[in-house]
C-alpha cells in the first residue's frame, strides 16, 4: 500500500548549555491515506517537535520525512497545521482569515511573464491576447472560504473578528483556514487543549464529522488518552525523551464511538499501560 506519510529514522539533536540534548531518536512511522492517527506520549517526549518537523517548521538532524513520495523540505500549504494556541490573525475577519492561504496562493500563481492567452486579473507582465482562461482570485476565494466556514458550522460569522469569538469558535476557524488550501495532510497539535472540557467533546465530534466528509489524512498529537480513544484509527505511543515510538495500536472500535462503552474502557486501559511502561532503546519499533 502506498503510504501517505513516511517518517524514517528521524533524529533530532539540539545543543543547549548543558551540552547536546536528544529530543528524538530513530523515529519511524507510516501513515495511511485518509487515516486518523493519534500520537500520544508524556509531556516533553518530543511529539510536538516531530509534528513541527512534518510541517517543515523544523529540520531533523538526520532521517527523512516523505509525503506522497516527496521529501519534506520546508513549510507548505500542502501540510496544513492547527496549533494549540489561538492563532487567528486578529486584524482579519473570520472570512479573511480562512481566505488567507488562498490569497497567498493567488499572489504566487498570479505572476505571469511572457505571452498569455486568456482573461487575466491582477498583475501580469508581458503580452496578453484573446479570451479564455486564467482564474482570478476574489470571487473564487470567497466561495471556497465560505464553503469551509460552513463546514465547521460557523455560517453567519464571516464578518466577525477573532476577539468576538469564543475559544471553540476560534479553533473551528483555524481548522477551516487550514483546510481551505486543501492540504494533503492535516496536522493538529493538541488543538483542543485550550478550551474547556465540554467544548472539547463537542469539537471532537465535529472534527470527526469534518474528517469523514473531507476524507483527509489527519495526524493528531495529544496527551489525552480519552481523546485518542475517541478519535483515532490508530494510536502511536511515544516514549519519553529521547522520543521514539514504542507501540502502534489499532483502535478497532466501531464508529460512531461511545466514550463510555466497555470496549472503549478496555482500550483505554491498554493504552494507559503502554504509556506507563518503562522502555529501553530496544523497545522502539518500526
Amino acid at each position: 500500500m502506498n503510504h501517505k506519510l513516511e517518517i524514517r529514522g528521524v533524529t533530532q539533536v539540539f545543543s543547549s548549555e548543558e551540552g547536546e540534548v536528544k529530543a528524538l531518536e530513530g523515529v519511524n512511522l507510516e501513515v495511511r491515506p485518509a487515516e486518523f492517527l493519534c500520537i500520544i506520549g508524556p509531556s516533553g517526549c518530543g511529539k510536538t517537535t516531530l509534528l513541527r518537523m512534518v510541517a517543515g517548521l523544523e529540520q531533523p538532524s538526520s532521517g527523512e520525512i516523505i509525503l506522497d513520495g516527496k521529501p519534506v523540505r520546508g513549510p507548505s500549504p500542502d501540510r496544513g497545521m492547527v496549533f494549540q494556541e489561538f492563532s487567528l490573525f486578529p486584524w482579519r475577519t473570520v472570512l479573511r482569515n480562512v481566505e488567507f492561504g488562498l490569497e497567498i496562493k493567488g499572489k504566487v500563481e498570479g505572476k505571469v511573464k511572457g505571452k498569455v492567452k486568456g482573461k487575466v486579473k491582477g498583475k501580469v507582465k508581458g503580452k496578453v491576447k484573446g479570451k479564455g482562461g486564467v482564474e482570478s482570485g476574489k470571487k473564487e476565494r470567497r466561495e471556497v472560504a465560505e464553503k469551509y466556514i460552513e463546514l465547521v458550522g460557523l455560517r453567519g460569522f464571516e464578518r466577525h473578528y477573532p476577539y468576538e469569538l469564543s475559544g471553540g469558535m476560534k479553533q473551528r476557524v483555524a481548522i477551516a483556514r487550514a483546510l481551505a488550501t486543501e492540504p494533503a495532510i492535516l496536522l493538529m497539535d493538541e488543538p483542543f487543549g485550550s478550551v474547556d472540557a465540554q467544548t472539547r467533546n463537542v469539537l471532537q465530534e465535529e472534527l470527526l464529522g469534518i474528517w469523514q466528509r473531507t476524507r483527509k489524512t489527519i495526524l493528531f498529537v495529544t496527551h489525552s488518552v480519552d481523546e485518542a480513544v475517541y478519535l483515532a484509527d490508530r494510536v502511536a505511543v511515544m516514549s519519553a525523551r529521547p522520543g521514539c515510538f514504542v507501540k502502534c495500536l489499532e483502535v478497532d472500535l466501531p464508529r460512531p464511538r461511545k466514550r463510555t462503552s466497555v470496549e472503549a474502557n478496555e482500550f483505554r486501559e491498554k493504552l494507559l499501560m503502554w504509556l506507563s511502561l518503562e522502555r529501553s532503546k530496544a523497545a522502539c519499533i518500526f
Partner: protein, 257 residues
C-alpha cells in the same frame, strides 16, 4: 455653580475655574501685564492678530509636515529592519541610543549650516523630534509579532521575509506604528518654537512668538500664541486619533482591555 451629573461636560468645570482664577489673579494680585497678562487681553489679542495668525499657523504646519513626513519615511523602513532582524537591531541600536538623548535644540547650529535659513532647516529640527518615538514604537511592534502568527503564516504558504512582513508583521505592528507616530507628532510640534527661532522665514508661530512678541515685550501676544500652539496640537492629535487610530485599533479592542 452646579456640577453636571454625567461625565460628558466634566472637563468644562476645571477649565472655567482655571480661567476665572487666571483673570482674578491678573487683575487683583499680580497687577502687572508684563508678568501675567489678563485672560481677556489674551483673547482679544487672538482676535487682533487673526490675519497674521493664520499665515503663521500655516507656515508652522508646513515645517511640521516636512519634519514629521520625513521622520516617518525614514523611521518606518529602519524600524522594520530593526524589529524583524536581530542582527540589524544589534548593529544599529547603539547608534540610535547614542543619538536619541541629544535634544533637538542642540541640532540647530548644524541645521543652520546644512540647510541655511530655509523651511528645511526648521523641518529638520522637527524631524529630529519626531523621529525617535516613531522608530522605537514601530520596531517594538515588529519585534513583538507572536511567533505562532508567523508560523501560521508559514504553514499557509507565506514564506520568505518579504511576504511575512507584508502579510503578518506589518498588520500586527500597525497599531504600534500609529501610537509612535502620534507621540512623534506631539514631540515634533513641541519643537516648532525651537525650529523657527532663527528666522527661517518671515512667518511661523514660533518665529513670531520668539523674535517679535517677546522681543517687544508684548506678553499678551506671547501668551496668545502659546495658546494657539496648544490648540493646534490638540486638533492634530484628535484628528489623527479619529481618522487613523479608530480604524486601526478596532481589532485590538479584544486584546487590550
Amino acid at each position: 455653580m452646579r456640577l453636571p451629573r454625567e461625565e460628558k461636560g466634566l472637563w468644562l468645570v476645571p477649565l472655567v475655574a482655571v480661567i476665572l482664577l487666571w483673570e482674578f489673579s491678573a487683575v487683583f494680585v499680580v497687577k502687572d501685564p508684563l508678568k501675567l497678562p489678563r485672560f481677556s487681553a489674551v483673547v482679544f489679542s487672538i482676535y487682533a492678530l487673526r490675519d497674521v495668525l493664520i499665515a503663521d499657523t500655516l507656515v508652522s504646519l508646513l515645517h511640521f509636515g516636512i519634519g514629521v513626513g520625513l521622520a516617518f519615511a525614514v523611521a518606518l523602513p529602519l524600524a522594520i529592519g530593526m524589529g524583524w532582524s536581530r542582527r540589524v537591531f544589534k548593529a544599529v541600536d547603539p547608534i540610535v541610543e547614542l543619538l536619541r538623548p541629544i535634544p533637538p535644540l542642540a541640532w540647530i547650529p548644524l541645521a543652520m549650516i546644512w540647510f541655511h535659513l530655509t523651511h528645511y532647516a526648521a523641518g529638520f529640527i522637527i524631524f529630529i523630534g519626531a523621529f525617535f518615538p516613531i522608530l522605537i514604537d514601530s520596531y517594538t511592534g515588529f519585534r513583538d509579532v507572536p511567533k505562532v502568527l508567523v508560523e501560521t503564516g508559514k504553514v499557509l504558504g507565506c514564506i520568505g521575509d518579504r511576504k511575512q512582513i507584508r502579510f503578518v508583521a506589518l498588520p500586527y505592528a500597525l497599531p504600534s506604528v500609529a501610537t509612535g507616530t502620534r507621540v512623534g507628532m506631539g514631540v515634533g510640534w513641541m519643537c516648532v518654537v525651537a525650529a523657527e527661532m532663527f528666522a527661517v522665514s518671515d512667518y511661523g508661530l514660533g518665529y513670531r512668538l520668539f523674535q517679535k512678541f517677546y522681543f517687544l515685550h508684548q506678553m499678551d501676544y506671547v501668551v496668545a500664541y502659546m495658546l494657539v500652539l496648544g490648540l493646534v496640537a490638540l486638533c492634530l492629535d484628535r484628528l489623527f486619533r479619529h481618522f487613523v487610530e479608530e480604524r486601526l485599533f478596532r481589532w485590538k479592542k479584544g486584546i487590550v482591555k
